[in-house]
Amino acid sequence: MDILLSQLFTGLSIGSVLLLVALGLAIIYGAMGVINLAHGEFVMLGAYATWLLQSTLGLSLLPCLFLVFLMVAAAGWAVERTVVRFLYRRPLDTILATWGVGIMLQQAVRLAAGADLRYVETPNPLSGSIDLAGVAIPSYRLFVLAFAAALLGVTWFVVQRTEFGMKLRAVTQNREMASCTGIDSARVFSLTFAFGSGLAGLAGALVAPIKSVAPDMGTNFVVDAFMVVVVGGVGSLFGTVASSGLLGGGTAGFAFLLNDTLAKALVFLGVIVLVRFRPQGLFAATGRR
């Protein structure tokens, strides 16, 4: 029972990190059809921004979060304005161009902050662990889980209940028609890209205390996040949540039975089979594109 519970929590915990990273990607891919391979680098930027704020201003993690969101969102906005906006009609080319952006961001950070690993401190009140039905659970992991859920709520609210979200949905469904009704679709896309990047930055800030911070940390995140978005189904927030849970749980389960490396290999193998039989994802939003 204890083992089951702790495995369940490990799965949830992996899933929540996946969700954090994938959320921004899901928004950008779902709404704009842009496959952003620089997403991992935005996560990395978020982690470095946190490290910078912490080491220079002495801020603890929590007050950093809002600033980090703004900083990385600004970076995302700049990338959209300078590169991505040229490629809306060529989705495959966005893969390539954003990979180029990723290389540049990685190297820029390596030049500015050095190639050494950096460490971000866990905020004090969250460094302990909580006893839950006989299982010790690190409270920071619990916090990440809660934060991921909250962020999901915020994203849902932004997309479904705000004026910006309404415009975004209109542009997603039919860009020309939306433009005809006076929606500035270029601006909507810029802001969406910035929002998605900001979410990636937040993910970076939150994973920074758990994982080591290095310039090339993004590469693994982006592949994982991609798989989550594709399995979940493009344009479906619920799908993204479900598939983060599924992949997180799968990874934790296989890791318990075998080992971490094989677990990831098996999960990826599962993704291949799934994409083959259901390329639209498990929970595809219908009636789009």
Binding site: L37, A97, M104, Q107, F226, F268, I272, V275
Partner: protein, 368 residues
């Protein structure tokens, strides 16, 4: 997309192959030869990608799978040749000793033979690609989803090789390799012999690719690349053609990986990593995805520039490379080859225009 064949289109290929085969008669510095041989191997990998991506529209982000399998096949053979030196006991490679294996696994046994290793480097990647291709293309998976499946396949292969430490050397890979030997020739990676091997492989596959893409099957492939529906409506068995291109491309990547392992004298899981696979995409895109030769030249140019930069400048190189790549993708989708083609077309067009004008000046005058 390149236009339909003309004899003149063979000319650049012949010139290029002649040029790379002539290099050892000019360059004698062994380190330079070694460097050039490495660039040619990477050029072959980029040409392989152009074959599936540029011609057939299969964006393979997992080109590292074929490349890595080829590299490991050769590395296994070369390791077996050298291991008694390093371990002394029953010819067991050192990492197997560290992992407490007491005898050589059965699938390592045939790699005592150099011919078997060569065959494996060519056929194994093709087999894996054929299986994956058959699995994907039967379901008419295309575009972005091919990219995702191949990316996932790359991750799976990489993780498996890292995980099976006792059989593959894990994260370190297979190191301390001997030199390849065949027909009494020893291919020291710093010798002209090895350079000729590398250049010969590249020339052979470029010519093969050229002939293949100009054949009827190649025509169908290019048709698939520019629009799948029409090909289907004409009743072609599209999946088979896609499998063919995908496997041939993997085979070429396997040979490239084999040469790469020989030139670097090791094989590691980074050979089947995401960064190198996407780098191959960059090279092909810079050189021109629609042209085998273009992609090859792209790989050689990018790697050559990178290799000739001093250590201090190397830091900013990645920045320049990223920027260059973005510029190429946004403004020059057909790469250097596309640029050369359109320049050539404009020049010949102007020449033709001049000829027409001088031939019929009165007609022009009359119109005026």
């Amino acid at each position: 997309m390149p236009r339909i064949t003309s004899a003149a289109q063979f000319l650049p290929y012949i010139l290029f192959c002649g040029a790379i085969l002539a290099v050892p008669s000019i360059v004698s510095d062994p380190f330079l030869l070694n460097k050039f041989a490495r660039y040619l191997a990477l050029g072959l990998a980029a040409a392989a990608l152009a074959l599936s991506w540029g011609y057939c529209g299969i964006l393979n982000l997992g080109q590292g799978v074929g490349f890595g399998l080829g590299a490991y096949a050769m590395a296994m053979h070369l390791k077996l040749k050298t291991s008694p030196v390093h371990t002394g006991t029953a010819g067991l490679p050192d990492f197997m000793v560290w992992n407490n294996l007491d005898h050589l696994p059965w699938f390592w046994q045939p790699f005592h033979s150099g011919l078997f290793a060569l065959a494996a480097a060519v056929l194994l990647p093709a087999l894996v690609a054929a299986l994956l291709g058959w699995f994907m293309f039967r379901a008419r998976i295309a575009g972005v989803y091919v990219a995702i499946i191949t990316l996932a396949m790359l991750a799976v292969t990489n993780l498996l090789f890292v995980d099976q430490q006792a059989y593959t050397g894990g994260l370190n890979g297979i190191t301390d390799l001997a030199w390849f030997e065949m027909g009494g020739v020893e291919f020291d990676p710093y010798s002209p012999a090895f350079y000729y091997l590398s250049a010969g492989c590249l020339a052979f596959f470029l010519m093969l690719g050229m002939v293949f893409t100009r054949s009827k099957a190649g025509l169908v492939l290019r048709a698939i690349g520019s629009g799948t529906d029409r090909v289907l409506f004409f009743g072609y068995d599209m999946a088979s053609y896609q499998c063919l291109a995908f496997s041939l491309s993997a085979s070429m990547a396997g040979v490239a990986g084999m040469l790469y392992a020989m030139v670097l004298e090791f094989a590691s899981p980074t050979f089947m990593g995401v960064p190198i696979s996407l780098s191959m995409v960059i090279w092909a895109a810079v050189g021109g995805r629609g042209s085998l030769l273009g992609a090859t030249v792209g790989a050689i140019l990018v790697n050559g520039t990178q290799g000739s930069l001093s250590e201090t400048f190397l830091d900013s190189w990645q920045l320049i490379l990223g920027a260059l790549f973005i510029l190429v993708v946004v403004f020059l989708p057909n790469g250097i080859a596309g640029l050369a083609n359109s320049l050539g077309a404009r020049l010949s067009g102007r020449a033709r225009g001049m000829a027409a004008r001088s031939a019929a000046p009165s007609a022009l005058l009359n119109r005026r």
